[in-house]
């Protein structure tokens, strides 16, 4: 048993309380073994900073992002409207999520269907906590390590956020190195547009291998990610280069939690 506190909305409501922010965990964060570690690391940080948050728990449902991008607009809108009913039922104003796909959908696509919330990516919330002086870390085991950050498409190009993840990484006292293709020129990991859930079309290379090549060219100790799908793709990519002993793929939340000894 872990020692994390994860209040659900239902519990909060029963206690007559309201959270400052809803943590939207997402499907990967809830079910994928690797991504669950990211979820827990982020919760530890929220607990550590005494952020008053809650999760929907079993009341959460897929945002519909992969269905929409796979062409199933009906399924997307069904999911979206059901989620909006739940979110509005709890009078949610602010949402944080560690998944850029959920982030983009909740932020940009739910308003068309009547769901209006302030939505932030977890790196943006962490940046805020650092700026407010609530969160403080020293480099710890990351001090002097070489870190390269892979921009998630739906955080970077999709929503123009390139700085928050880098600002957070800078707190680690490490050496931040950029890949040749970075920020707005960053190459996709290969998982977007519902590709995560299907075999790639015929080609001469896997996209995640191409992208991991970019990352490994910087000779990093750690490849930092901000998306559970990128994390999977880059982890597989590192394995295909037989570099899993030397190079770690970690979410920014995991790195900060680690540096804060949580």
């Amino acid at each position: 048993m872990s020692n994390i506190k994860v209040p659900t909305m239902a519990e909060m409501m029963a206690a007559g309380e309201k959270p400052d922010v809803l943590f939207w965990v997402g499907c990967a964060g809830s079910f994928d073994d690797r991504a669950k570690k990211i979820t827990k690391a982020f919760v530890k940080l929220l607990n550590h900073c005494n952020v008053k948050f809650a999760v929907l728990g079993t009341e959460e449902s897929c945002t519909g992002d992969p269905a929409r991008r796979a062409g199933n607009e009906f399924l997307f809108q069904m999911q979206a409207m059901m989620n909006i009913q739940v979110l509005d039922g709890y009078e949610i104003n602010k949402i944080v999520t560690a998944c850029p796909h959920c982030f983009n959908t909740l932020k940009n696509e739910y308003p068309d269907l009547g769901g209006n919330y302030e939505v932030v990516h977890h790196t943006q919330l962490l940046e805020q906590l650092f700026n407010d002086g609530i969160l403080k870390v020293e480099g710890g085991s990351f001090k002097g390590k070489k870190i390269t950050f892979h921009d998630p498409c739906y955080l970077g190009r999709g929503n123009g956020e390139y700085e928050a993840p880098r600002m957070v990484l800078e707190k680690l006292d490490a050496e931040l190195v950029e890949m040749k293709r970075c920020k707005s020129k960053g190459l996709c990991c290969g998982a977007g547009g519902a590709q995560m859930f299907k075999e790639a079309e015929k080609g001469n290379k896997e996209i995640n291998v191409e992208r991991t090549g970019d990352a490994l060219a910087t000779n990093p100790n750690i490849i930092a990610t901000g998306c559970p799908f990128c994390n999977t793709m880059m982890t597989d990519g590192v394995k295909s280069f037989n570099k899993e002993e030397e190079v770690e793929v970690m979410d920014i939340a995991e790195m900060i939690a680690n540096a804060a000894d949580l």
């Binding site: 809830s30 199933n72 399924l75 190009r157």
Partner: protein
Amino acid sequence: MVSNIIFLLLTLGAGIFFALNIRKIIQKIKLGKSVDRTDQKKLRWKTMAKVAMGQSKMTRKPIAGTFHIFIYLAFVITQIELIEILVDGIFGTHRFFQPSLGGLYVLSISIIEILSVLALIATFVFLARRNLLKIPRFQMPEMKGWPKLDGNIILYMEFVLVMCIFTMNGTDEVLFARGESHLAGEGSLGFAVSSWFGPMVFGGMETSTLHILERVGWWGHIIMVFSFLNYLPFSKHLHILLAFPNTFFSKLTPMGKMTNMESVTKEVKLMLDPAADPFAAPAPEEGAVPQRFGAKDVNDLSWVNILNAYTCTECGRCSEACPANTTGKLLSPRKIMMDVRDRAEELGEGIRKNGADYNDGKSLLGDYITEEELWACTSCNACVQECPVLIDPLEIILDLRRFLVMEESKMPAELATMNTNIENNQAPWQFSPTDRLNWKDEA
């Protein structure tokens, strides 16, 4: 007098032919479904000024971008000279503005000349990049045949145009020095390049030959301008005009946002509303064509998508940045744009000749774009990001996917499974929704 009439007829002819062809293109753009892109006017003007006039996205590739700006500036500034050519041609004058503008005239022509030299260098660089250096993005499969020739023809035309300018100005410089020009004065006209280029190349020629050459340059120049103008509607080079409306009408929302389908929203609301009476909905009108979900052909796309396609100049920055294309998949966003344009041409011409009900049994999806191309897309927006004129290939790709899935239930089997999982388990994987919070208590 005869030459004035010939000039006038030529100008009118070129203008009318151009206008007719542009009208045809506007008709083809209007094949697309309506979408409102007239909001936020101020931001739209700003975007156009920055991206189209200011070429702000060109220098994401510093070499190509810089040389492109040379040609762009030369092209824009040369239009000043065109005013004088029109005046001279209609009224039979010679360098009409020279006497009244004086030093300013010399400055204007000199700037045009310097930019023309830069444009000439750029023309050679571009020809080399396409034909000698074989830059990969110009060698992709969709660039075989006409697109390759089209790209080169434009560069040849630019070369001839610049040659005409320097023949015209160079011979006039020599004639002026000999006191044989139609302009009063002595010494040099003082043009930055032709004041030394003229004597160097034309200095040894007979005065009578120079007079002929000067006319060859003058007429050659204007004929090239008219030819160029009328070549545009048949060429990818139309971007020099359409870049402006295309950037003006571009999508202003974050790239990550997909367009909402209102038609689906209505149906989903009806499905989710327990009080809704499905029989209360008005019966569809007799003979009404039910609205298609997604896009099968160009007329299912929006007019902005088709405008995008006519604006595309096939530079291939999109395909070069595309992760699917980079890793050898069939998808090339540039080909998507070319297909939309070619199909709009085909369907548009058919409709123009045979009436609005024309049906050739073909469609964009299937006859031009294959399912394999569509399913290779990761929706990463790299193509959208790289386009120097704000074309959005992704919107088209996703609209075609919508048709495949919602109208034909055609999708890779794993995606069908994914959809079923979302429907039944509220997650793309087959996990029980009741286990969603289990992570909380796992070690």
